[in-house]
């Protein structure tokens, strides 16, 4: 089984989520806000388990918008498994996302890149290690790679379905929103004028964010972002091979994990549905443990 789907329905259905049988150990989670001034970011720190002492910490970079909500559980699960394996792990919300300060419409790629750097500083201060690995999903993976290429202290990268091309991503978002409008019982505030909507699946899509997104081109990154990179490709179509080749050309040691789980990429308004892609989580923890013993 590639993905474990936990369906939590209304209260009567709640009694025994299958996930409870999967989580065999529990590690303490430390929630906190960090940063300065009024624009604080929210983080959850997973202290490492006592079994193994690792010399690398991990920062997990969420995807954005609706994908953040959908993958929150998977991210927590991954952070917990990494901590069990001995890696200090920090999940954090970008500015305007999750619990962090601000509104999503005021976020920007530059701001979120700075947030990733702030999270790296935070995890290093918390656990005292100097080496940091970034694990990102979708736009979070893109930010991870861009930030890693700008810094010298990121050793490892896990890029789970990164957004490689900004224009293609914007077109994807617009198509997903259009499909939702066609399927769901919702009425738009006004008909979409022009090729792009002003919101996508419950989150704003501002003109400035579109401009930011359209600048993304991971194949144009010329600095090796990290020595070791794991690329995970879970979309139905395997679209990450050009990035793999590009990173190899930059001198990175690249591992490639192909685990298609197409269902999880479809918009769904069922609040009782959680996706735990256990194969990907296991592969990530195994790769991290092997590369950073």
């Amino acid at each position: 089984m590639r993905a474990i789907e936990v369906v939590l329905d209304l209260p009567g259905e709640y009694d025994r989520p299958r996930e409870w049988h999967i989580e065999t150990r529990q590690m303490a989670v430390q929630p906190f806000f960090f940063g300065t001034g009024a624009e604080l970011l929210f983080g959850c720190y997973h202290a490492p388990g006592p079994a193994t002492h690792r010399t690398s910490a991990v920062v997990l970079c969420y995807p954005m918008g609706e994908e953040y909500i959908r993958f929150h559980r998977a991210w927590r699960y991954l952070a917990a498994r990494l901590a069990e394996a001995g890696f200090p792990a920090l999940r954090f919300d970008y500015y305007g996302c999750g619990n962090s300060a601000g509104d999503f419409e005021h976020g920007s790629i530059d701001r979120w890149r700075a947030d990733v750097s702030a999270a790296i500083g935070q995890v290093r201060r918390r656990c005292g290690v100097s080496r940091v690995c970034l694990i990102g999903l979708r736009l979070g993976a893109t930010l991870s790679m861009v930030v890693a290429a700008e810094r010298a202290d990121v050793n490892g990268l896990v890029l789970w379905d990164p957004v490689v091309s900004g224009p293609a991503h914007v077109a994807e978002l617009a198509a997903a929103h259009k499909e939702m409008l066609a399927k769901a019982l919702v009425m738009p505030e006004r008909p979409t004028r022009g090729p792009l909507p002003t919101e996508v699946l419950g989150f704003p899509l501002t003109h400035s964010l579109v401009t930011d997104l359209e600048q993304i081109d991971l194949l144009a990154v010329q600095q090796r972002p990290a020595n070791n990179v794991l690329i995970i490709s879970s979309h139905e179509q395997d679209t990450q091979r050009p990035l793999e080749q590009h990173l190899r050309r930059l001198g990175a040691r690249v591992a490639y994990q192909r685990s298609p789980i197409p269902d999880v990429w479809e918009w769904n308004e069922d609040v009782g549905r959680v996706i735990l892609p256990s194969e990907i989580v296991q592969a990530t923890v195994a790769w991290m443990s092997a590369v950073y013993p």
């Binding site: 009567g12 259905e13 409870w20 959850c44 929150h72 419950g202 308004e269 609040v271």
Partner: protein, 304 residues
């Protein structure tokens, strides 16, 4: 200002307190607790809970969003209680936390979907709860069934839902256009429609108003305790049909008696995906909460 906190008897439930945006917080005002919508963590679907909490804070209220054990950021518990029972205890622990740390003794519980069901359940027996905001609540008036509705009620709700959406809702043009242009998933819907029609025509007749008598008594008790209950329903959600089927002819009467305050948000789905509908929801809750500011503030009751 917001603070991240660990609460509950084991101090392992992850929550975020949003403080009122005023110089001096009034501890006589109730605090709002936002309970998980299904398995969505404490930011809520489409980050709605964050928006609601911050809007309430701008009006002077404290708000706490937290995750039940095994949901969102909170680890599972070892108490081995059924989730429903455990969730009630955890909500009480969250109220104890705000009493112990901030001196707050009155609460309004709020949630979407299952969060609404737990909010209602708590309101019926905990005297510290002086209000509840139930967003797309389903099955709460059949509380004894613990969320599992009898099949004949589910059938009636679905028949009501499909008829309403196709004939009377603001989506009717959209759904007919989809149906006529082949955009409908007939493979799934036709067998369901046939089954519902068969049950409707040949199934055994059940009582006309299936809501239990004790549910009416609970609603009356809430009114006598002056517990304010606001129901908010999305037009595109079948939970609205649950309310209409469950109460039947009693719905207008209960509204007249002041037991039910029902707002219907047109043009939206279960999770309020369109941004303008999110704003409408936040405004409805804010307006309702502002009325609490004008109410007399009695001394708080002791916890049970």
């Amino acid at each position: 200002m917001e603070e991240a906190e660990l609460l509950g008897k084991d101090r392992d439930l992850v929550g975020v307190v949003t403080h009122p945006a005023v110089e001096e917080a009034d501890s006589k005002l109730p605090a709002f607790l936002l309970l998980n919508a299904g398995s969505v963590h404490h930011v809520g679907p489409n980050r709605l809970y964050v928006k609601i909490a911050r809007h309430l804070a701008s009006l002077g209220f404290m708000a706490l969003r937290f995750d039940f054990a095994g949901v969102g950021d909170s680890p599972r518990r070892r108490d081995r209680l059924p989730f429903g029972e455990s969730a009630v205890r955890q909500t009480q622990e969250a109220m104890h936390h705000l009493t112990a740390t901030r001196g707050i003794e009155r609460f309004v519980l709020m949630g979407l979907c299952s969060g609404a069901v737990f909010s209602y359940r708590m309101a019926t027996f905990d005297p510290r709860v002086m209000g509840a905001v139930l967003i797309n609540a389903w099955g709460h008036l059949h509380d004894g069934a613990d969320g599992r509705l009898p099949p004949h009620i589910v059938n009636r709700v679905l028949v009501h839902y499909y008829a309403r959406i196709a004939l009377r809702s603001s989506f009717r043009t959209k759904v007919w256009r989809r149906a006529l242009t082949g955009g409908m998933d007939y493979g799934a819907r036709v067998p369901l429609a046939l089954k519902l029609a068969r049950n409707r025509l040949f199934g055994r007749r059940k009582q006309a108003t299936p809501v239990e008598a004790d549910s009416a008594a609970r609603m009356q008790q809430l009114a006598e305790r002056s517990v304010r209950v606001l129901h908010i329903y999305s037009e595109g959600d079948k939970t609205l049909d649950y309310l209409q089927v469950a109460l039947g002819d009693r719905l207008p009467e209960w509204r007249r008696r002041g037991w039910l305050d029902v707002r219907i948000v047109r043009g939206t789905n279960h999770t309020f995906t369109p941004l303008w509908k999110q704003r409408e929801l936040v405004d409805i809750i804010g307006t309702w909460a502002q009325n609490l500011l004008d109410e007399p503030r009695p001394p708080a009751a002791s916890p049970p």
